[in-house]
């Protein structure tokens, strides 16, 4: 039977209320297709919903997001999601509260945003402001916006909101004045709440009354809009996220993006068909701000990084460099390297003899990637599912931090089946499409860029090396000593704030309370004299790990109460927490505290630190709460400071000397 017959059989079974059988028929209709067609995803999702299987229904809806990029299927899926939400919470890693404030009709965008968010692991609790009410909502401290108390505010704007003339004699002043008007709105928002602002910048119109002259006339509105977008970006810095709608509308094609008929009819700022794209990008940025972006790209080799099979074709036989396909592979390697340079970890997972697999990296003149770029290199004949699980555990990151690319659809399918947490990108048959396939996935959307990001590969390579050394050392003490670890432990300062915010936002495993403090909250701690706040930078003989840990504690009478204690998973198992706690003890004494209180708040990811306070010599304070939350007390007066044996704490000045050398 062909696919359309299976589909019709499914439709009939649905009408008869035989949903489980209908699902089978629909699955058969989609057989052999890597991503089922959108309408089939939707039909299966509906059947699951009828059967009360809401998690399955939601999973199919997330597949639809990848299968379609037009309005109608997305609208249908968004409608189904609404129905499900009425009675069930969709499965999600995070549940951010999001306020949507628009200058145009955002009703349709709101539904799409919920759907796209689900694809990135988030169930959004949404507040949608009234049509074009964004200024009023932000300026009125008693508005519904502030009552909702969102984690994120999305400002969805169209170009008509930029108060710039068609022509200006003083363009620089006019642009600056308009920038200040928006910044003042940002400041008001920051004053009344701690929400993170995500602003859509201005998609420039398709028509230019000044023709090409506009491009060399700073006073033309088109030129000023370009300048305004640029200055908004500069002013945003780390405080505000920008969705570059000017880029998106160009990418989409401005003549299609703008459809004035729908503007006149119902104040739609762009064609409804562009909303899925806008929603995906907006959701990806929210996800990135929540630390949900993927961390590691796992690469196949043969026909993924070069053409042909190295084990058969040999070094001179593989397609790399010369010819159209050879150039496409070089371009893909180059793109992957740029990802690595901004902090994405790279791993190789290939079915090959290891020596064969390494040879192009060592000898081929056209390789853009080198072995130093790869944090972990696995080439053997074991199943890839096994190797990928091994990569995740060695690098000490979750499977849900991995993205796998492989030209072979069969390998992709196996990983989807065996390791559903791993994202698998469907590569096109032609290597010239690889870059776009990875780029469009939006799985590596960065929230920020710090110096630590650029050093990540070095650190993860060192970890793989240390895993080896750990096996060689006689005792754990010998091992710790052999690392020759040095730490800088110092109070928070403005210089390190971006990294501190980043760590608080995304550390999951070694995080005792998982409190996601925002920048203003952290600044409040810094201004509080009764607070001890310390960051930890660590280096050893192999690598400089950068800023990898922090603790925030607040004086509560005689007791110093730990609000936040966390460490990057890069440096777990190195006694760095002892070094940090030892310094915290000094801080406690300075504030006249006789004891330190620690709280363990269980989360889905932090079971590894459940016993931490006991290990450090804390005593339980009362019984654990029903949800597992437990308080611990360290008797500082009686026991003295917590001991730090293996890490030499140096001052920030020495560290600078080290950096200079």
């Amino acid at each position: 039977m062909d696919a359309s017959a299976d589909r019709q059989r499914g439709d009939q079974l649905c009408r008869d209320g035989r949903y489980a059988e209908a699902i089978e028929a629909y699955r058969k209709a989609a057989e052999g297709q890597e991503i089922p067609p959108a309408d089939v995803c939707l039909k299966i999702a509906r059947c699951h919903q009828h059967l009360g299987e809401h998690e399955h229904a939601c999973r199919l809806l997330t597949r639809l997001v990848d299968a379609a990029d037009t309005f109608t299927p997305w609208q249908a899926a968004a409608g189904l999601l609404e129905k499900i939400r009425a009675s069930h919470e969709p499965p999600a890693k995070r549940r951010p509260r999001v306020a949507l404030l628009g200058s145009y009709t955002t009703t349709q965008f709101a539904g799409m945003l919920r759907l796209a968010a689900l694809r990135f692991g988030m169930a959004i609790d949404l507040y949608e402001a009234g049509f074009a009410q964004y200024r009023q909502e932000i300026l009125d401290p008693g508005s519904g916006l502030y009552a909702f108390d969102p984690d994120f505010v999305i400002l969805a704007l169209h170009a008509g909101e930029a108060a710039l003339p068609e022509y200006s004699r003083a363009p620089d002043d006019d642009v600056q004045a308009e920038l200040e008007r928006w910044r003042s709105l940002w400041r008001t928002l920051a004053k009344h709440g701690s929400a993170r602002l995500i602003m859509h910048n201005f998609a420039l119109p398709a028509e230019s009354p000044m023709g090409h002259l506009a491009a060399r006339l700073p006073g033309a509105r088109l030129s000023m809009m370009h300048a305004l977008n640029a200055r908004l970006g500069e002013a945003a810095g780390g405080e505000v996220s920008i969705i570059d709608c000017e880029r998106l509308s160009s990418l989409y094609g401005k003549r299609r993006w703008f459809d004035d008929r729908y503007w006149y009819l119902s104040r739609q700022a762009m064609t409804l068909d562009a909303l899925p794209m806008l929603a995906r990008h907006t959701a990806a940025v929210v996800a990135a701000d929540l630390g949900l972006s993927r961390k590691c790209l796992v690469l196949d080799l043969d026909n993924t990084l070069w053409g042909g099979v190295i084990g058969e074709d040999g070094l001179s036989g593989i397609g790399l460099g010369a010819g159209p396909a050879g150039e496409a592979f070089v371009a893909f390697q180059h793109y992957v390297r740029l990802l690595k340079d901004r902090g994405v970890i790279l791993a190789v997972c290939s079915k090959n003899n290891e020596a064969d697999a390494r040879e192009p990296f060592e000898k081929h003149p056209d390789m853009a990637l080198s072995l130093e770029d790869i944090a972990m290199f696995v080439a053997n004949w074991k199943p890839k599912s096994e190797n990928i699980a091994h990569i995740a555990s060695t690098l000490n990151i979750g499977l849900d931090a991995l993205v796998f690319v492989d030209d072979n659809p069969a390998e992709r399918e196996v990983i989807r089946q065996m390791l559903p947490e791993v994202e698998v990108i469907t590569l096109p048959a032609d290597p010239s499409g690889y870059v776009r396939a990875v780029d469009q996935s939006l799985l590596f959307e960065p929230a920020s860029f710090t110096e630590e990001d650029a050093k990540k590969t070095e650190q993860y390579r060192a970890r793989a090396e240390i895993a080896r050394l750990e096996g060689e050392s006689d005792s754990l003490e010998d091992f710790y000593a052999s690392l020759q670890m040095k730490a800088v432990i110092a109070p928070f300062d403005a210089l390190h704030l971006p990294r501190i915010v980043q760590l608080i936002g995304k550390t999951n495993q070694f995080n005792l309370t998982t409190r996601r403090h925002t920048l203003p909250q952290i600044q409040a701690f810094m201004n509080d004299a009764d607070c001890v706040h310390l960051y930890l930078k660590l280096r050893d003989r192999f690598t400089d790990h950068g800023l990898v840990g922090l603790v925030i504690a607040k004086k509560d009478g005689e007791v110093l109460d730990i609000d936040t204690l966390l460490m990057s998973c890069r440096v777990i198992g190195r006694t760095a927490e002892r070094a940090m706690m030892s310094e915290l003890c000094k801080g406690a004494r300075r504030l006249g505290c006789a004891a330190i209180r620690g709280t363990y708040v269980p989360s889905a990811k932090n079971a590894m630190v459940e016993g931490l306070f006991a290990d450090l010599g804390f005593e339980p304070e009362g019984d654990a709460a029903a949800d597992g939350e437990r308080r611990w007390l360290y008797d500082l007066a009686g026991r003295g400071a917590i001991e730090n044996r293996f890490i030499e704490v140096v001052s920030g000045d020495e560290e600078q000397a080290h950096d200079a050398a």
């Binding site: 309005f71 109608t72 609208q75 249908a76 189904l80 129905k83 008929r261 729908y262 119902s266 739609q268």
Partner: protein, 82 residues
């Protein structure tokens, strides 16, 4: 699929109701959920499905399903004739 079936499946998808069965005399008052927002969504999706564009006030006004079908037939025939 016939024109009627294609139109019906657009209504079902956009309004999220597989039970919708269109008849010629139906207007927005007869179909649950067909409010002003749904109207925009429907008109846009009909344009996409049939590859046409409504012009001027056609977008805002829609007498009944029968008239819509006549209109679509006309537009599609006009295209195949050209």
């Amino acid at each position: 699929m016939t024109l009627h079936e294609r139109l019906q499946s657009v209504f079902q998808a956009v309004l999220g109701d597989d039970e919708i069965a269109l008849t010629d005399g139906m207007t927005s008052a007869d179909i649950e959920g067909w409010d002003s927002v749904a109207h925009i969504n429907l008109m846009f999706s009909i344009e996409s499905e049939f590859g046409i564009q409504f012009e001027g006030n056609e977008l805002a006004e829609l007498p009944d399903i029968g008239a819509l079908k006549d209109y679509l037939r006309q537009r599609l025939e006009g295209r195949s004739a050209a």
